[in-house]
Symmetry: C2
């Protein structure tokens, strides 16, 4: 079974909702773990990698929380396109997409739990949920981690905690992150200030695809940096607290824009709609930035709330691998062809969408 | 009676059509004349200017071809706003709009004949028609000139011809020009080549408001430079011939774009429509450039031919004085307020317009 047949459709995936999902697109926790008795992937020979793979894939698959209909396969069995689709869904890392024989993926039916085998560490386990659900994500992943430890022995020392390939993950091996949509702070020119403040708290702010990527579509990933000397639950609580503060800042930024520069805001959102629904060629970057404004339009009431799913879906399917998948041609599209096809898809899908109506905006109450 | 009550409405003015008006927006001929016995305006004392005014306004008004319902008044009676409206309608020059007492305007009911008194010369007479009608414009103005010479004596020498304030008008005092819409040559990057070729033929290429103005909205004014040593009818014929060549170049440029880069063209036109019908603030310059693309969309069949009048009307009413006129406030709008009001007007008027449909484009046959 191809992973593409396994995956939930973009429309279904984007129909999901979660707490505070006007601003928090998703909450994610991942744990890095390694087997005690096998060299780490970065130093492993092929036989070692195979041993880790053959130990871990069945072990993960057997877990009750993965369900009895999980997807599990070697990365070698996946095409480049399938891997890229998984990256765009945030189910595997870009690094893992480059892996082949000896590396694998186990994914549960709901796509809320995804486990990479032989990425940088033997195990990279991820719990992903829509909206602000850091604690729920953590609890789900903690259960996976505990259940797994009944079957395999992880590299662990009382002094350092869990050992990992990279020292930045040493200790808890935890990375807690949330994907935030912050157009208000960007348009209100407060984003750099917020990023600096968040950095000072020992948290990292990154772009859409993690480390070293650009914040396309006004989307920022906030995550913990430190993994050592703090309990997992404390890290989760700390990030949760900071995120609540960022959410409040974003809400106030939106209110501030509505109060001080409503026409500028309406202008951005109106033009975004106009271009997306009438362009005949459009880059991925422009698309994301304009869809971000359309999502803001939904949040502000200029477009019906029921359209959020469509906007999120367009965001997903406008990405290269999803476009390739939707295209009738089997040959790999060039960048220009992709830009043409992306525009065609957007025009078609947005044709039914009502125009943004600024008279429908309701100013929410400002918070202290 | 205010000149604003006299003027034809923008919708009526733009409903007019003429030969080849896909490319030739209007044809214009003007003659510069001076009274023999009165110092030229640039050197005249107030009493001289009044004398010229009192001789010429009644004389012009009495002409049969001006009709019995012509508008005639002193520039001093017109407000700054009224003058600016006349400039935007191409009925007076920007220079004449700065004039006051002692300068005047006579305008026939159809606005096809407009006579400025005491601009740079005692008389600047203009014949203006929609589309490619250089000869018709010339014949109409020649009749005015002849009829007037039965009443007043013009400064004329057998050696130099008609004497004018500026030597560039000496001789025939004629300026023949056409306003051309050349988006194909601009998008096809052939416009500079054409301008150079036209310049070599002794013709000038200028922007929307004549000398020293920018070619906003892909609109170019082509006119003769020489007024000496060539008969008026020869000048008209020569320009007519060059214009036919430019029209053919523009038509071929459009066909070339449709054949070689249709998506680029559809993209420009689609985005123009999207922005114009959804912006909440828009500058005059951006508006003109986007309306130019919308007009091209009409010409190519992407929008119904019946919408040409609307596009031309929006072009006219998006200009500062026309906007001020349409605005409920009596106070002069600032540039920012104008940009907001312009966008409101465009959104409202374009709400009923169907989206550009690239499948409706019919490729015209290329010419040799």
């Amino acid at each position: 079974m191809s992973v593409l047949d396994f995956l939930i459709s973009p429309a279904e995936a984007c129909a999901r909702s979660g707490p505070n999902d006007k601003i928090v697109l998703s909450s994610r926790v991942r744990l890095a773990r390694n087997l005690r008795t096998v060299p780490f992937p970065t130093h492993a020979k092929k036989a070692d990698r195979v041993r880790a793979y053959e130990t871990l894939v069945p072990a993960v698959r057997s877990l009750a929380m993965m369900g009895d209909d999980a997807f599990a396969d070697s990365m070698e069995k996946l095409t480049a396109l399938e891997k890229q689709v998984l990256v765009e869904r945030h189910l595997i890392s870009r690094e893992h997409a480059a892996k082949g024989a000896g590396s694998g993926l186990v994914l549960n039916r709901e796509e809320s739990l995804s486990v990479m085998v032989n990425e940088e560490d033997h195990l990279r386990m991820q719990s992903l949920r829509p909206g602000m659900q850091l604690r729920q994500s953590w609890l789900a992943l903690d259960a996976v981690d505990s259940a797994l430890q009944e079957q395999v022995e992880f590299a662990f020392t009382p002094q350092y905690g869990y050992l990992t390939a990279c020292p930045t993950n040493l200790g808890t091996g935890i990375r807690v992150s949330a994907m935030l949509h912050l157009p208000g702070l960007v348009l209100g020119e407060q984003i750099n200030q917020i990023i600096q403040a968040v950095n000072k708290l020992g948290l990292a702010v990154r772009g859409l695809y993690g480390e070293g990527t650009e914040a396309l579509g006004n989307i920022f990933q906030v995550s913990n940096q430190m993994t050592l000397g703090e309990a997992e639950s404390d890290i989760v609580e700390r990030l949760d607290k900071v995120l609540k503060q960022i959410i409040e800042n974003e809400e106030n930024a939106r209110i501030g824009l509505l109060e001080k520069k409503p026409k500028v805001l309406f202008n951005h959102i109106g033009r975004a709609f106009g271009v997306l629904s009438n362009a005949h060629t459009i880059s991925s970057k422009e698309t994301m930035n304009l869809l971000s404004l359309l999502r803001l339009g939904v949040d502000l009431g200029m477009l019906p709330a029921s359209r959020k799913g469509l906007v999120d879906e367009l965001f997903l399917v406008s990405q290269p691998a999803h476009l390739q998948l939707a295209h009738p041609a089997k040959e790999k599209l060039g960048a220009d062809e992709r830009d043409l096809f992306r525009a065609d898809q957007l025009r078609t899908r947005l044709a039914a969408l009502e125009k943004p109506d600024h008279t429908k905006v309701v100013l929410p109450p400002a918070k202290a």
